[in-house]
């Protein structure tokens, strides 16, 4: 046991002594969290809007004022004819052009319906949809205020768990998964293959440490580091961005520990099937990190993907972990709602562990 502790200490020093890696190891989660919190969101804060008013009457002027009175829309000039639309898009002056049809007020009064056209730069479909949606909601509010549609059904929305619709609430759990994968799986696999590449693995194996102890000793420092990172991210997210943790914190830590174990076992698995750091790195990147970022629901909702990709997402540990973290942090869910995801993660961990132990002992014979 003393030898084992000595070995773990040596591994720790290995990581900490490499100043640059250590700095990034602790700095990266913080920096990425700040980036996601401050800079990256799929809300649009400024819509530069050009107006082409073919009617120039009381209603269109009032509606125009109404649109620009919100902070979202910025006036980007009045256009005088349809020919100018293409130009203003090409020069990048506008993100949106609103066209009022001729005799707007008159039609609204007589026919009960008037048309306005919202032209957006569709090359980014996402922005295009969001901007159109923003405009539609301003127009709806306008109609409601003017008492045009006080009759009929009114839908009262209640935005649960995230009333401010902040995207950082969505990103924090994904960020945790990504960092844990990076530290636990990628770093572990590289550090074990390095011993193989340098030939020092054989030295460790002929030492008085048991093979299992060697592997566990290699893994323990990364486990501790990952755990520190989890705590950093959750604390920062709470204090800087007000991301709540509505559920039980011990449960969150336990589930994170479980996910770290899954990631570590994947890292060991990769290191047993590869022989060079380069290959291990590429396998970890292409096989673990990319899917974690793209197919887990981190940025893009799983439900939006075509079914083959949804099927693949079931075998990605991060997908399950994300459901768990979002459940605990945002919805205050307990184990009663999350037992399925927890069991899946347990089974995955056991499976990867078993395979890597078998592969490892095969190599020893």
């Amino acid at each position: 046991m003393r030898r084992f502790i000595g070995f773990v200490r040596k591994e720790f020093f290995h990581i900490i002594r490499d100043r640059r890696t250590a700095a990034i190891l602790f700095g990266m989660p913080v920096l990425q969290l700040l980036l996601f919190g401050f800079a990256i969101s799929n809300e649009i804060s400024e819509v530069r809007t050009g107006i082409l008013d073919l009617s120039h009457d009381v209603v269109t002027e009032e509606l125009t004022n109404r649109i620009f009175s919100s902070n979202t829309f910025l006036p980007a000039g009045n256009l005088s004819s349809e020919k100018e639309i293409a130009d203003s898009f090409a020069s990048g002056r506008v993100t949106e052009v609103i066209v009022f049809e001729p005799h707007f007020a008159q039609r609204l009064q007589h026919d009960g319906i008037a048309r306005l056209q919202v032209i957006t730069d569709g090359s980014d479909p996402n922005v295009s949809r969001i901007v159109t949606g923003y405009t539609a909601s301003v127009v709806r509010d306008f109609l409601r205020e003017k008492g045009f549609s006080s009759s009929g059904v009114e839908a009262v929305p209640l935005m649960m768990f995230n009333p401010g619709l902040k995207s950082v609430f969505l990103f924090v759990p994904g960020l945790m998964a990504m960092i844990l994968m990076l530290v636990s799986a990628l770093m572990t696999s590289i550090s074990i293959t390095r011993e193989k590449e340098n030939g020092t693995m054989e030295l460790l194996l002929v030492s008085s440490l048991k093979p299992l102890q060697v592997i566990v000793g290699k893994v323990v420092p990364y486990l501790v580091l990952s755990f520190v990172n989890v705590i950093t991210v959750v604390t920062l997210a709470f204090f800087v961005f007000g991301v709540p943790c509505r559920g039980s914190i011990p449960l969150l830590l336990f589930e994170s520990l479980l996910f770290i174990m899954t990631a570590l076992s994947l890292g060991i698995l990769i290191s047993t099937i590869t022989s060079s750091q380069q290959v291990a790195m590429m396998v970890a990147l292409a096989g673990l990190l990319l899917p974690t970022v793209l197919l887990s629901g981190f940025i893009f909702p799983v439900a939006s993907m075509p079914w083959p990709l949804q099927a693949i997402s079931y075998i990605i540990p991060a997908r399950w972990y994300l459901v768990v973290v979002r459940g605990i942090m945002l919805k205050g869910a307990g184990i009663a709602a999350l037992w399925r995801e927890t069991i899946v993660l347990c089974i995955m961990t056991l499976l990867f562990m078993t395979i890597s132990v078998r592969k490892f002992s095969e190599r020893l014979q």
Binding site: N42, G112, P125, G133, M160, G164, N198, Q277, L294, S304
Partner: protein, 384 residues
């Protein structure tokens, strides 16, 4: 052919180094398949996964009114194609439970006396409890619901003859959306050009980033250091193979974009290659710089990953640049990925010509020169 002395002799040295690098790359049986499979996997997975489309929203119904008119409203929801009824319940708490459990993304509650109020005062409310965990999706769901309710209100007057004019046909402003350059709002058209950039960046950054430091780790760098090779020859010999591979990956990517995804190409291929050639120098220069400054492959790869992730996240590839605060938007001017993504999208989707992209091209050229100068400068023939 024997040339010696002067610039030709120098080039000959580079040629030898090139041969060595290529031999090493093609001998590495582990890396080869990865290099050739990467473009396919990335393009196919990324372009299909990267979508914010909201498919039919599963909802839970709590209809306490149960009249013909509430049925009609529910039918409006289910027949729209935007919503899918997941179940019905009359217990208040089951609504929140369904959201927590992920059984439904929305709970539609129609209160008792819904019909009575419509007939009596011409106005009634329904409640939409939406899972806003994903704020963007929640906004979209709200938009769908509004559209349906507006449509319902329009036909309400004919459905409720008993209301005696309390329910007037709504006065409405109809909004006609139209997205230029991509009228059907095909997401893959927009994503694929950007993903090509990610592809070229990752291959270039990681291959060059691991290269020199690997020689350091296995000790062969000393063998090169004792030869009379010049710094520029060394860097050129290290850069060129990856530069060629990068352009090869781009070619494969463009072919897939054309044949599999039918992404239009309104601009010229020559321009794309010209920009890519410069852009690759930036990426490779950065990779080499990381490599010469690192002590281990682990460290190099960690740093390379760190920068790649930040560059990609701040490139406007997944989330629009416009949605960033001003200071972050200014910061992205330093980001080569942002400029190349922008250029690729403009050239492929809008047919921009070289005069349209002069500014971005200028920034990239400047960055390439700085990076290469740094890489050459930082390479020293001493072992640590």
């Amino acid at each position: 052919m024997k040339v010696s002395g002067g610039i030709f002799g120098g080039l000959q040295v580079v040629g030898h180094l090139l041969r060595k690098e290529f031999l090493q790359i093609f001998r590495n049986k582990g890396m080869l398949p990865i290099m050739f499979l990467m473009p396919f996997i990335q393009l196919v997975i990324l372009s299909n996964a990267a979508t914010f489309d909201v498919p039919a929203v599963p909802f839970l119904l709590q209809d306490y009114d149960r009249t013909a008119i509430s049925d009609r409203l529910v039918e409006r929801f289910t027949s729209s194609g935007y919503f899918r009824m997941e179940g019905e319940s009359f217990r208040q708490e089951s609504g929140i439970d369904a959201l927590v459990d992920h059984h439904a993304d929305m709970v539609l509650t129609i209160p008792r006396d819904f019909e009575k109020e419509l007939n009596g005062i011409g106005h009634a409310r329904i409640q939409l409890m939406i899972d806003a965990e994903d704020g963007f999706t929640a906004g979209v769901i709200m938009g769908y619901a509004d559209e349906i309710v507006t449509g319902f209100n329009r036909e309400l007057a004919s459905l409720l003859p008993a209301s005696q004019g309390l329910v007037r046909p709504a006065i409405d402003i109809e909004i006609r959306p139209s997205g230029w350059y991509n009228p059907e709002l095909v997401y893959t058209d927009y994503m694929v050009p950007g993903i090509l950039v990610v592809l070229v960046t990752m291959i270039g950054m990681f291959l060059s980033g691991m290269n020199v430091v690997r020689e350091k780790e296995i000790g062969t760098i000393d063998q090169i250091n004792v030869t009379p090779i010049r710094r520029w020859q060394f860097i050129t010999g290290k850069l060129l193979p990856f530069w060629i591979i990068g352009l090869g990956e781009l070619t494969a990517g463009l072919l897939i974009a054309r044949l599999v995804f039918h992404v239009p190409m309104l601009g010229s291929y020559a321009l794309v290659y010209f920009v890519a050639a410069i852009y690759l120098l930036v990426v490779l220069g950065m990779g080499l710089l990381i490599s010469t400054l690192s002590d281990s492959q682990q460290q190099a790869m960690f740093i390379a990953w760190f920068f790649t992730v930040i560059f990609i996240l701040l490139s406007g590839l997944f989330t629009p640049i416009e949605s960033m605060p001003h200071w972050a938007q200014n910061l992205t001017q330093l980001n080569p990925v942002r400029h190349f993504v922008d250029i690729m999208r403009r050239v492929m989707l809008k047919g921009s010509t070289i005069s349209d992209i002069m500014q971005q091209l200028g920034i990239l050229t400047l960055q390439a020169m700085v990076m290469l100068a740094l890489a050459v400068n930082r390479y020293r023939k001493v072992s640590a």
